[in-house]
Symmetry: C2
Subunit: 246 residues, 2 copies
């Protein structure tokens, strides 16, 4: 499809993952210099990345201020889930309308991966795949904008879970996705919507619990683990331009 820019996307994806896995906790500062140094890109491009993340609601990027990882409020959390509920219902309706047998196989493959990750207690993988299910479903709606909005909502929900949710609250809603698939396959729109809505209720109630405080690691240490495949010629050398300490 459309490859906007490799470098930008790598950094964007890495930062997104770091935020969603709580490695970069809400409120953490994201200085342009430092990010640029780690991803071997100029501040110009870093700004593009931060702007994108800001548009997605993951970072707070007010002018003349250092960008920070967004700190969702309870009100925002409610809003996000409310909108998501409405769009998930629309997704389900559209998918039922366009249903093809291949959809079932695709979704079930994802659910199997999900269960495997859960059994292996790989929290982050599980969390990503659980969200991926909803994004994939939105893709099957055939509406690219709906897919984009859903992707945005899912990531924001993950951030909300990171802030307000309890760490290990992934218990037995493993087969809710499977049940939804079953309803979709029988092309029962009403039931599918009902199941999805109930599912969202479960997710929401477990995501919004209560805040907590922790120590936050230095962004330098964190980014190193998320740098991914940066192929710049001399990324090894930390390009951090030493401040004029004078």
């Amino acid at each position: 499809m459309s490859r906007p820019s490799p470098r930008i996307d790598i950094a964007h994806e890495a930062l997104k993952q770091a935020i969603l896995e709580r490695a970069l906790q809400p409120g953490t500062k994201l200085p342009e210099d430092e990010i640029g140094a780690h991803f071997a890109m100029s501040r110009t491009l870093v700004r593009a990345v931060l702007a994108k993340l800001a548009a997605e609601g993951l970072v707070d990027a007010r002018p003349k201020r250092t960008a920070t990882v967004a700190v969702p409020t309870l009100a925002e959390a409610r809003d996000v889930f409310e909108v998501r509920r409405a769009l998930e219902a629309e997704v389900v309706r559209l998918v039922v309308k366009r249903w093809k047998p291949s959809f079932g196989a695709e979704l079930e493959g994802l659910v199997r991966e999900e269960e495997a990750a859960r059994e292996r207690h790989e929290e982050h993988v599980w969390g990503r795949l659980a969200g991926e299910f909803h994004i994939r479903l939105a893709k099957l709606s055939g509406n690219a904008l709906l897919e984009k909005y859903m992707a945005e909502l899912v990531t924001r929900c993950s951030l909300i879970l990171a802030v307000f949710g309890k760490p290990h609250s992934h218990d037995g809603h493993a087969n809710e996705h499977a049940e939804i698939i079953a309803a979709l396959r029988s092309r029962d729109a009403a039931r599918a919507v009902e199941l999805m809505d109930h599912h969202m209720g479960v997710v929401e109630s477990r995501a919004i619990v209560g805040p907590e405080e922790e120590t936050r690691p230095a962004i330098g240490d964190v980014l190193a683990r998320y740098a991914g495949a940066i192929t710049a010629r001399e990324t090894a050398t930390p390009l951090v331009r030493k401040a004029r300490t004078k």
Copy 2:
């Protein structure tokens, strides 16, 4: 509430208006230098503006390429209306739930302005107010994210109308907004949703008609009319760096 940055917002708003009123037609190039010169801001900030407009789907901003006014495709147009329909319904449901008498007065004031502009044949004003109604309604839902999404969808619909719609297709759906208000006031959610959905059908069918070709004016001439209150010391002098025409 939050004033992100005056300069940025002025340019953002001006460009948005220029695009929605077809003064800057789809496909028109938006070079950073030229925009920066007109709004007396550096390319750094211009990029922030363009990034924002890109996130809203109004401009196409691929890396290493001159940004252009977005050219919506028919498929995108369908997608936008589909999502908008779903969210408009949600808005109506929420507004009915939180209804207060003051809402009615507020909305009716807007409808009166709308009718006045229509009678005066002020196309652009009418168009803006017609969209404003839906955004205001979304605000009354009490969900800030829903309001943000709706604002985005409404502006994209305006752009779509500019591309695919006929120029003078604003006939007698003047009182559809009024009817919706009536249904809201009687707190009849089902009827309000039905009216809104019908209304969206009318808007969509008139927005998506067929493409057309025209001559496009120079961006320099256009921006001058949209510059608004730029208070920079020497904006009078057109800073347009004259191309080395040789």
